[in-house]
Symmetry: C2
């Protein structure tokens, strides 16, 4: 969106893993804390790498609807087995719930507080509702409400998720801004008529980790963090 261009935004919906919270750093720290005999960053990347294929199994019908806690657990069992790490069941369960305890990026809470003055703020994540509630409590994140793929029985980037959020907010898609660090998520939301804001999270996959490519001018807003996004939307 060009500077000075008019918009009628009323609500912002946020991708969460990588956009609001730092899954890589939080999981690497947890693995170190537990003293597991493996590289924590590599462990985080392998766990996350199973995420898209697992959701695709749900989308294709190969798996019945399974929430993210359930998908994370299926992947975790494989990631541990591949390293020959055996843990008591209670410890595996605790580790699986590290996704409920991920730390926000340093600007997240402050930026959301600024944005909340003017806009309705909701999550729009593939994480299940209970996970998202735990994350907003853990991080003190001032969302107005939690929207999850679980409410729609579909995972992003299925259109049901983006259109479902606009409908629950009683808004036209163009009145809703999707905020994400992932071009693929933003493209899918734009196809549903939502506005898009890309937020740069260069450390999402750790130091030197690759980010999804995108083209110049592909998104309505481009921001370095949530505080900068709030300044852009003041206008």
């Amino acid at each position: 969106m060009l500077p000075g261009m008019k918009h009628d935004l009323r609500a912002l919906v946020f991708d969460v893993f990588g956009t609001v919270v730092d899954w890589y750093g939080s999981i690497a720290a947890e693995v170190a804390r537990l003293g597991l005999p493996t590289d924590g960053g590599r462990f985080a990347l392998d766990w996350r790498a199973g995420y898209q294929p697992a959701m695709q199994q749900v989308r294709s019908g190969a798996l019945p609807w399974t929430n993210i806690d359930g998908l994370h657990r299926r992947i975790l069992d494989r990631v541990l087995a591949a390293r020959g790490i055996a843990l008591p069941e209670a410890e595996v369960q605790h580790l699986n719930r590290v996704w409920h305890r991920l730390d926000p990026w340093p600007d997240s809470a402050a930026g959301l507080a600024l944005l909340k003055k003017r806009f309705v703020l909701a999550t729009l994540s593939n994480g299940n509702v209970s996970l998202l509630v735990d994350l907003v409590r853990h991080g003190g994140l001032p969302f107005d409400t939690v929207f999850s793929a679980e409410l729609f029985g579909h995972y992003k980037p299925d259109p049901e998720v983006y259109l479902g959020a606009a409908k629950l907010l009683d808004l036209a898609p163009a009145q809703v801004l999707m905020v994400a660090a992932h071009p693929s998520d933003l493209r899918a939301s734009a196809q549903c008529g939502l506005r898009t804001a890309y937020v740069h999270r260069p450390l999402e996959r750790g130091p030197g980790g690759a980010l999804e490519p995108y083209a110049d001018g592909e998104f309505d807003f481009m921001a370095g963090d949530f505080v900068e996004l709030a300044e852009m939307l003041e206008g």
Copy 2:
């Protein structure tokens, strides 16, 4: 629940109209502000009186799923017509949305802030999601998330609503406390296995208005307001 009796409560879910916010006083004040030629309190009571029959029409299938904004509008048109009041469409629309601007009871925000330290807090209302989001923003009410009948396609007291909330929170029904000023709502939630807290709102229907009767010892907790409830649950 007897003093000192053990519980494993993790989350509190709240009825909203009458329990968290004062619909009678807020609507009466709006009617006075608009200068409508009618008694504001009587107007509020008549509007609210159409609420249960309208939801019953949805439950019975006589009406397809219609959210509370839509049901409120159907009733409002009748309440205005019965008084011979004709307003421009934009003013009727604005008046219908007074339900998005209801003021909380004086203890609501402070009590919720105390309860939030220990428990997950969610609305559990027949109000639609966008209405509830507007109410929590208007009243500065620190809920963790908004649950609405709209998410389940059923209105309270249908069991799908109470059980659906526990499921989204990934909790057993007995770990969830339903908080309401209405015995009928609490009884339906208890039948689903939830714990119950009655909060006394003597002015819900205005000065001298009748309250639903209940029996001694019918509910797990009985509180005068949310701050008192927080003190009871400290134990």
